[in-house]
Symmetry: C2
Subunit: 322 residues, 2 copies
Amino acid sequence: MYDLIIIGGGPAAAGAAVYAGRKLLSTLVVTKDFQGQSFVSPDIRNWIGEVSISGMDLSEKLEEHVRNQPGVTVKNDEQVNRIEKTADGYQVKSDKDSYTSRTVIVASGGRRKKLQVPGEEELDGLGVAYCATCDAPLFEDEDVAVIGAGNSALETVIDLSSYARKIYVITRGERLKGDPVNRRKVEDLPEDRLTLITNATVQAIQGEKQVEGLRYYDKSAREEKTIEVTGVFVAIGSVPNSGMVGQLVDMNTSGEIIVDHKTGLTSDSNIGAAGDVTDDPFKQNNIAVAGGIRAALSLYSRLLDMKKYSPCSEPEDCDESA
Amino acid sequence: MYDLIIIGGGPAAAGAAVYAGRKLLSTLVVTKDFQGQSFVSPDIRNWIGEVSISGMDLSEKLEEHVRNQPGVTVKNDEQVNRIEKTADGYQVKSDKDSYTSRTVIVASGGRRKKLQVPGEEELDGLGVAYCATCDAPLFEDEDVAVIGAGNSALETVIDLSSYARKIYVITRGERLKGDPVNRRKVEDLPEDRLTLITNATVQAIQGEKQVEGLRYYDKSAREEKTIEVTGVFVAIGSVPNSGMVGQLVDMNTSGEIIVDHKTGLTSDSNIGAAGDVTDDPFKQNNIAVAGGIRAALSLYSRLLDMKKYSPCSEPEDCDESA
């Protein structure tokens, strides 16, 4: 039985794992991969301490720091499907195995929202994309649409602007959101390269073997319109990966786990949660890290209180030099 | 008039400044220096993303990131003494000048506690030290005392163990605190090099032109005792630098500024606070960063609500390429 199981591989999980390791908790990290949602960002400029870092490099640094903790075991390439309460703790079930622990931190992040319109699934990878870092270079000199109005949409446009010929940005509301610095970069693109279509709802992505166009409803003109594009980048935000928690802890109507922002603990005080899976109003890498640390330190106190806890009674469990 | 004045130069201030910069707030950072309290750590192993980094290197990275923000002005080598409320915001008075702003973030950190015993001030720099990183090499083959029981004391011992001949650790309570990994490193030192003196109160640091000894009261034996040492490292924690706030915001009995841990705002909702100056139970670098970001993003919303805010109406105020 572990002291702590951490579910996830992004910044929240990394913060929790490093601190749990230093507290000599016997810790298991179960994660599909070590890629937070910003893994796809080509150029993160708000990871404090680095003027500029790619999402890929950041993920690697986080993973290295976690793997450097002697008392922390990592199960990679495993998806947790369920957490269940047992007599003396929790059972965490993945698609490969099952583990028990006294406490749990849910740091499973969020996933990109889909448009859920005809053509989106059929043409996924055939012009429909969710990751500009990965796919922008495929659209050199082509016309593409970006769906969304927030930072992830703006960053997608900025990234595409090095490749695509013309970019349509399609927003449901009346204007672009996101950081002013990003907005300005987008608005500074020449008119013949950027067309902003506001008050619009995407109805379908068209094409036989690959994307050929996009149909949307123009709410102002009250009519359907079509544009010819060979790429559609969907950047409309994310939903929390909280399904595995079931009814164990309180959630809000968006499915986000409600946490005490001082302790990082949930309505079940032996379960912590951190990062994009929670109701934290600010979905940011540095804030996720801090949430993970907070939850780990709070559960460390809980474990001491339980008096069930003897940190590394067998030193070889924790100490790599043993 | 600035949108935001940030007081401080540690990780909380850096988090706030970078995010304020990206939100194109006209921002002023006023700080004595860019040295958080962990500036003196030789080897930080819990700054998430870096397996190991010195406090000095971390401070440099934070400063570089802040100075890289076009809309952020930095006043270095200035000590803020007072914040006062004005009709439309705040006046921030330093030892050199005075500035006005619509909102403020207090990220002024804490400072090392002193023993306040005879000899401490007189022999400061003559054997009395507060920074092992800086001063440990001066005590090669000498006998030294470390006062304290927490992580900063343990790290001081670890640092000194490469230099000093014998180390006395003097604690008021019955045992060492701090992280088990640090505790183990200290307890693994050979007996002839480490003597742990518990239940002891330091009474005086002795010496004429430099430290020659230390007198303490042994609470168990109920008698005064003396040890011969040439160095005394004081590592008994810190107190919040909250004096400049006066009565503007609510504080707890320790003088820590009480914040809403979800928003990072104080009892005055146009003043945020973050890091070691607050009542955050966890005084950690990564948590301070997140607190600064939280306060900056909350005040950004406040500024938009005030409708007084037009971000960078003069682009050259913000854009370094202008």
